[in-house]
Symmetry: C2
Subunit: 412 residues, 2 copies
């Protein structure tokens, strides 16, 4: 029986097959995400992986349904697996924001789902680090969030040579559009054209832009100038104060596809341009109000960082550690008469915090030692009598004899 | 907009409302599960939350569908949110078992789903710690797994006064049934009757048992005698060697409802009998063969421990810690001229591993200090000039002045 197309199985390393994913690498990534978020004062939250379909159509319009993993449940409800976390966050914040000091700084590591026509190797789920900052309009909030993106990537060993934050602003484009005489009703059409600039054929863009009253040359000139707005300048200075100047560039080509961004937007890319965006985010000052039906109005911004592109990048840069069994000790049971007391030793070592493996059934000593080597344990221990154990340090082959109760003290 | 009935929102503590769940408590539980499993040499795996419906009906028969969160996807596939992890595990093991040394010791922390008629407060999802041991028939494997159940609960501070493992065996009941002249074809019917014994009315059980050629008195006598089989005796001795005798009792009332158990079965219960089972598991030696269509035949056993009952029990016993913001340091910015250098300090402290909070925007010093107190930080730091910082230990109010680069060394 096969798993569903577009879904992943996560196995312990070493991986048995190129078609499966590493549970160890996944946990490694989750741990770094969690640790960095906490250093920045972000608190963890989570919501249901299933939500009413309406939550997503309210935010993104009915056209989003084509990309959703949605269905009708047995109770006749229209529901969907979550394609992103922000609507759930907005729902949760709107429900209980009064109980939390502003700004609210929250993060989550949800699994997200989308149903696109299946393409070879295209995934229908991924995990995403989401961090959001709610209740603060000052650009200091944008800087804090971008610093978190940078520091998260640095926590994996990535440097300013590996990645860059392309910083932009819908406000800058809004001004450009307005001053150029654009029709306010067609502003989002213009944003979408800018969003596609890098991928679209130049004459297509030219055609579209001219229908909006602009020329491609005019747009390209604005991008090339890359003159930061006062708000972006503020963010740049804040990040420079932290020593993060080298990780940022103003890049107005970035505008983000989604309709709901309202101000600063950014994406993290590898410098070599080999991969899709590593992370992306921005301001969405109107979303909480929209989701709460007007009841709660809070400015907000956030980003998402997926596990798939990040994993590819870490692999390509040689930054993914080797994951082994992470066992500390192998207890060798040579004399079956000493099995009972060995079980006690194993129990006590585990209770003391050591990861301990042993042979469940009688086996030759050399077979047990071979297994200990495969597991790359730091020490083996064998009971010599019902009073003493022999501890061997695997790296040096040094041995020491100790009393049972004293064994743990020799495992430093 | 509301979340779906039977699903949970997880918020950071302190909780804003009795109707929501604690993300901090959830992570606390997951961390303990993960840490204990690793000490026992179990490796983490995971599969998709969605599987083909057939995976679950193959294992449990078509009648399971009534309890599943299943639906038809946009591609016309019959699929289901996973109600349990074992079928996915069996699928994954069957696909790649040759690459792993036996016994395979794996664990996972999946979210599981079921669609039952909605009852007040009844959840449709929960998280479950699953650990399985595959490829070993010896009762030493059963003992190792049960020791993990016990140690996992002990890791939360629960003792032999709080919980007990009720150990039983389908083999014992099989022998009882066979020797009593039971019809082999109706064995599972008999097992189901035993499973319901505690909840069913005595005359109902009597009627059912008599239709199978047995009397309730006969059955009750067998339970009261509680004579361990040789296999159970072996497990008891193994656990006694580890010092875990007080955590176990033979209890033939436990037989587990699911059809696929083949030998030893067990459940963990709180001693006061206030809650549903904390954990349950047993041997399922035929399942891997069944799921793999006969290709792979491996003996196996495992258990599941849900987050909901465990959380209730920990709360009731006062074993759930208070979760606060877990911030280490609050950097007070009194003089806005020193904000830039304070940002650098914040950055460096976070890079050194400290959780650091500060006011994103200008605020009065006493307001900042109040926030520092709310966050229960151990230290506040304020820049005194562009060369020196003043560090205050919150518990003693002791202050020390240090150079910027030296600040981290005073946070011990």
């Amino acid at each position: 029986m096969e798993r569903l197309p577009g879904f992943r199985d996560f196995y312990p390393e070493p991986l048995p097959h190129p078609d499966v994913w590493s549970a160890d690498a996944r946990q490694f990534i989750f741990d770094k995400w969690r640790t960095t978020a906490k250093r920045y004062g972000f608190r963890e939250y989570d919501g249901p992986p299933l939500e009413p379909l309406e939550l997503f159509t309210t935010k993104s319009g009915a056209e989003i349904v084509g990309q959703l993993y949605n269905f009708t449940d047995k109770g006749g409800r229209e529901i969907s697996l979550r394609p992103e976390m922000t609507p759930t966050l907005a729902r949760m914040v709107a429900a209980h924001e009064r109980n939390y000091k502003k700004p609210i700084k929250w993060f989550a590591i949800p699994q997200l789902f989308r149903y696109e026509r299946q393409q070879k190797g295209r995934l229908r789920e991924h995990f995403q680090f989401n961090a959001d900052l709610i209740g603060e309009t000052d650009p200091a909030a944008d800087a804090e969030l971008i610093a978190l993106v940078i520091d998260t990537l640095r926590a994996f060993g990535l440097t300013a040579e590996d990645f860059v934050i392309r910083l932009s602003s819908r406000n800058a484009w809004q001004d450009f559009f307005k001053h150029g005489g654009g029709d306010a009703a067609r502003e989002y059409e213009f944003f979408q054209c800018i969003d596609k600039l890098e991928r679209a054929a130049p004459d297509e863009s030219e055609k579209k832009l001219s229908s909006l009253g602009f020329s491609l040359a005019q747009v390209n000139e604005f991008i090339a100038a890359g003159k930061p707005t006062a708000e972006l300048e503020n963010i740049l200075q804040n990040l420079a104060a932290r020593g993060l100047k080298d990780f940022i560039k103003i890049d107005y080509q970035v505008i983000r596809g989604l309709a709901y961004y309202t101000g600063v937007v950014f994406e993290a890319f590898d410098r070599k341009g080999e991969f899709r965006a590593i992370a992306g985010g921005g301001r969405y000052n109107n979303l909480v109000k929209l989701i709460s039906g007007g009841k709660v109005d809070l400015p907000a911004l956030g980003f998402g960082m997926g596990d798939v592109v990040l994993l590819e990048l870490l692999k390509a840069r040689g930054l993914l550690p080797k994951f082994d069994s992470q066992m500390d000790v192998f207890v060798v049971i040579e004399d079956e008469a000493l099995r009972a007391i060995s079980l006690k030793l194993i129990y006590d070592l585990r209770a003391a915090g050591f990861a301990v493996e042993y042979s469940l059934t009688p086996a030759k000593a050399d077979k047990q030692l071979k297994r200990a080597q495969e597991l790359k344990v730091a020490h083996t221990i064998r009971a010599e009598s019902d009073a003493y154990v022999r501890i061997r340090k695997m790296s040096s082959r040094d041995e020491v004899v100790a009393g049972f109760a004293d064994a743990a003290n020799h495992l430093g």
